[in-house]
């Protein structure tokens, strides 16, 4: 059973998930990540290589765990958290722990082994976003869960262990402290201004325009003012909304269009970078309706993160957001 442990100094929760060592590596560095198509557990015809699907968008008349799907969601074979069991919260002297209750799922975005998110049609990307939404709405009914992280690792340098394009979802019984910090910061701003800090950022940057990469009627892609990573990009709905899963359909459409454009431009300008995509949305606890603003962060992995960034949480970025925005704006996609 995985365990959640709390650092007694910072209060940071960490998952200790020793079951994951059943993966084909022990303590050593890289995981095997050149699993070819023949062995790919995410390709059609290989449905038996994954745990049973929890959801799929599939052709009428096709059976679960068989080909015929467009998107397929399955539990992670090496889950960092488990759905069954009780918390068994207790102390070990001064330390605090609980069982690692939660969910860890994989969203297989397409049956096509060679397609990337950037190559998909807008409508296909929108369908991926809808799958995120549907899983969040379903898992949210489990009152034990307090937050859901939806993310995607693209490329080995970003931590992807299988090349077939997929996203992941981790549903947690705690609110991670990086989420808490963001909410607390937004709360502080709201207390002073009675406005959402993200709405203020969108408002100022749309007027200023130096950090705007792309926009359409509903969504804007910005290089944030204080980016941790070169070419870090935030995709924000222009309309205030605290929860990704409650966004209206036209915002998913708009987000899909901007996301595709952005990824194509990054592929062109940065030679197909590895990246992490992270959905930032409200936890299920606390009233964040006026305070928080859901968005998507894209973190390209262009340089190795060095000493004080790793482990310390302090960042040095060699590229200004104004320059990054200009580079991405000027890409010709012909």
């Amino acid at each position: 059973m995985p365990e959640l442990r709390k650092d007694p100094v910072t209060g940071r929760w960490v998952i200790i998930s020793t079951d994951r060592q059943k993966r084909p590596n022990d303590f050593r560095f890289e995981r095997a990540n050149t699993i070819g198509r023949e062995q790919c557990p995410f390709c059609p015809g290989h449905e038996q290589m994954t745990p049973h699907e929890v959801m799929a968008y599939r052709e009428n008349g096709t059976a679960p765990n068989a080909p015929g799907w467009d998107i397929r969601v399955v539990p992670n074979k090496f889950p960092a958290l488990q759905v069954e069991g009780s918390f068994d919260r207790h102390g070990e002297g001064m330390f605090d722990r609980m069982n690692g209750i939660g969910a860890h799922e994989v969203i297989i975005e397409t049956p096509n082994h060679d397609r990337t998110l950037a190559m998909m049609a807008d409508t296909e990307i929108e369908r991926v976003l809808s799958a995120y939404r549907e899983r969040i709405l379903d898992l949210k009914q489990d009152r034990r869960l307090k937050h859901i992280l939806v993310f995607k690792n693209h490329g080995a340098a970003a931590g992807a262990t299988l090349e077939h394009t997929h996203s992941q979802l981790i549903a947690l019984p705690i609110v991670p402290d990086f989420v808490r910090e963001e909410i607390d910061g937004a709360q502080r701003h709201f207390e002073v201004k009675e406005r959402c800090v993200f709405c203020d950022i969108v408002h100022q940057d749309l007027a200023d325009h130096r950090r705007v990469i792309l926009e359409n009627a509903d969504v804007v892609a910005l290089a944030p003012y204080a980016p941790r990573f070169a070419f870090e990009t935030w995709l924000l709905p222009k309309r205030h909304g605290a929860r990704f899963e409650e966004a209206p359909r036209h915002e998913y459409e708009a987000l899909a269009r901007i996301l595709k454009q952005l990824l194509l431009r990054m592929d062109r300008a940065l030679e197909h970078p590895a990246y992490n995509l992270i959905v930032h949305t409200s936890p299920f606890v606390g009233d964040t309706t006026d305070v928080y603003h859901w968005h998507v962060e894209i973190l390209p992995k262009l340089t190795r993160v060095a000493g004080f960034e790793w482990g310390t949480g302090f960042y040095i970025n060699p590229t200004s957001p104004e320059e990054a925005a200009q580079v991405l704006r000027n890409v010709r996609l012909s």
Copy 2:
């Protein structure tokens, strides 16, 4: 001039250091890091390849910036911060920035290109720690500086760009928020218990022993209860002390002995892992004397950090600290 920018949501300061792009890479992924001995700027005889030294331990009668040194400290050739200039703090609408005033230095730990910290004698390692101390005491006199980060990247996977063993030091005009969080956490514990949280950890773990890797009279090496990384290790002085630079000499001796033992054991058990070493010590502002406890963290880089760890600050660790401590305790060095 590098810039310090504050994220308006979280309050996190980030260095935007575009000068670093004068490095031999532009936006792209890896930096060249196979600079051989012939081109190594840290080897004796190549002193002219670095900026002028700010300190050296050298043979009597040898000239600065010439061979004859055991340890040499030089400004980083591609500094993330600059010593000269004024802060010029101002807002850009809702955003906050200031000039990147500070220091960024390199501590070349030995003239020998092929030696690693693990291969050095205890006394040589102690001398490296003394060099850290001396630079902190010197830079601390600059009242503009509020915190100094001393760290070491060993191996390309940990962000090292030159193989000749060296540490780095970044002196900052702000207290980074990860330091602030640690201090705040220790403060919370102190308010409730009137005891140092690190002293409590040392006390409990020395009694329990499952997470103790090594100890001597003055220093203990622990696998922390909630480690972010597999084989993460904290080296703590047993006696309470808030500031690394004020530790008595026998604690440096003890730390050097434990550090060498630990690195040798990691080299053996984990096949010469890349790692980051980070000195955690009090900022120069605020009274942390009773509350904080200096220590050294070693973060081996065994697995790629995946999506939600990157960028999100949430960690999944596949190895329990009890298991890691046992593996390292049981290494036979004979």
